[in-house]
Subunit: 249 residues, 2 copies
């Protein structure tokens, strides 16, 4: 049996009671830290809290050698932990497909995700978001303008855009990195971005939500990761009021 | 202090460990059951599990008389429970604004939301969803075509649409209700919907995911609520494979 458990946003106490019960009943517990990060805990702290050994796996471990997860799941209770909600990422959908093809039963225990958390933190209404996008660190000869194009399309329809910021083994993209990139990209796509909302450490005891134009946001210290960015469309009355009170508008 | 705690998707064990701790330390616990529903528990079961009295509040209680929540939060620890993630709904953003204006400290403890859960259940990728929409029960002289227009726009951009189904005091909209309505609406908006994905009881031990054209979906028994509907855009290879295995495609 393979159970996907979402750990939620920040630390080991963000897991659901149901998820914790699955972990404590598991024979083997894997934790992947590449599609998301938990800023408020570590493998060691998880092991103490869960009272279980937790084996960290990298993207390469899972994608190149899914058998390392699936082989034991044939006759043992294997729990696969991820930050946020477990199945938002394609790589895990692939793992569930492979498990099913081997005749392994699967279960998903959902967790809090940044996808919904940004609504509460920013006051922006869920149904006013368009398609989201990911902003990768640019590389040599690779500087995709896709994220700016998604934002431009959403803005043209008066919709907000959630911008996922790149997570690498050695660094996490910050709001400053992202805004600097988008300030370069947007004129090349023929538009400008009037307002950014940076969100840091969602789900932690000290989340930071701060909005403004590029210069105001670039002058603000968001503190440690994880960061995420929203490019809002025109704000409704209550969204504006909420951001004035909770987002420095 | 006013703490918003998201209960997650299905029953009282879907709350996070952190949320449970806030509930157990609360002086007063309110629970609203109008923006979402928990199919797998009751106020009585919550009270037993939380070891706290839980006061059910209606939309009218909260919107017409927010003082009933805010007055005690001036000097007591008040916890406000909602299904899903607590702040997706505008009405709760309003409550947090009012609390702040009275000088009451607020905190949000996030919970698993259908917004992200549908990805894991359907295999559809989060970044391929456009704007979502709500489908209300039609009333006399009130039959808005907005949901169909949102779906048409998303389909024209090859995006998926999450369709929230109406929740009333006396009834919850089913996948069948919704598909019947959309089959009437879509020709009036000049398009047709080739594929529906119905999802029932997300987060429960027996979620049901089943997709097909209108006639196939209308012939399928989804069982008890809550239901939610997805109108997918063109499927990517892995989305298709996932739905073949887990959604009856």
């Amino acid at each position: 049996m393979l159970t996907f458990v979402g750990l939620g946003l920040h630390d080991h106490t963000d897991v659901s009671v149901k998820g914790l019960e699955r972990i404590r009943n598991a024979d083997i517990v894997f934790f992947e830290g590449y599609t998301s990060r938990l800023g408020g805990t570590s493998v060691k702290e998880m092991e103490e809290f869960f009272e279980k050994k937790v084996t960290f796996v990298s993207r390469r471990d899972v994608e190149d050698n899914p058998g390392s997860i699936l082989d034991p799941a044939g006759d043992k209770n294997v729990v696969f932990l991820t930050g946020g909600d477990p199945m938002v990422s394609t790589t895990h959908a692939d793992l569930r497909i492979r498990a099913h093809r081997r005749g392994i039963r699967t279960e998903i225990i959902h967790g809090a995700s940044i996808v919904s958390a940004v609504c509460g933190l920013s006051g922006l209404q869920n149904y006013r978001f368009g398609k989201s996008c990911s902003l990768p660190f640019p590389e040599k000869n690779w500087y995709p303008l896709t994220p700016a194009e998604v934002i431009r399309t959403n803005l043209s329809m008066n919709l907000h855009t959630l911008v996922y910021l790149d997570i690498r083994d050695d660094r996490c993209m910050t709001v400053h990195d992202a805004v600097s990139l988008l300030e370069e990209m947007s004129p090349r796509c023929g538009f400008s971005i009037p307002l950014y909302i940076g969100v840091a450490r969602a789900g932690s005891p000290s989340p930071d939500v701060f909005c403004g134009d590029a210069s105001k946001v670039l002058a603000h210290d968001y503190g440690p990761p994880l960061h995420i960015l929203i490019v809002p469309g025109p704000l409704h009355v209550m969204e504006k009021e909420y951001l004035e009170l909770f987002g420095g508008l």
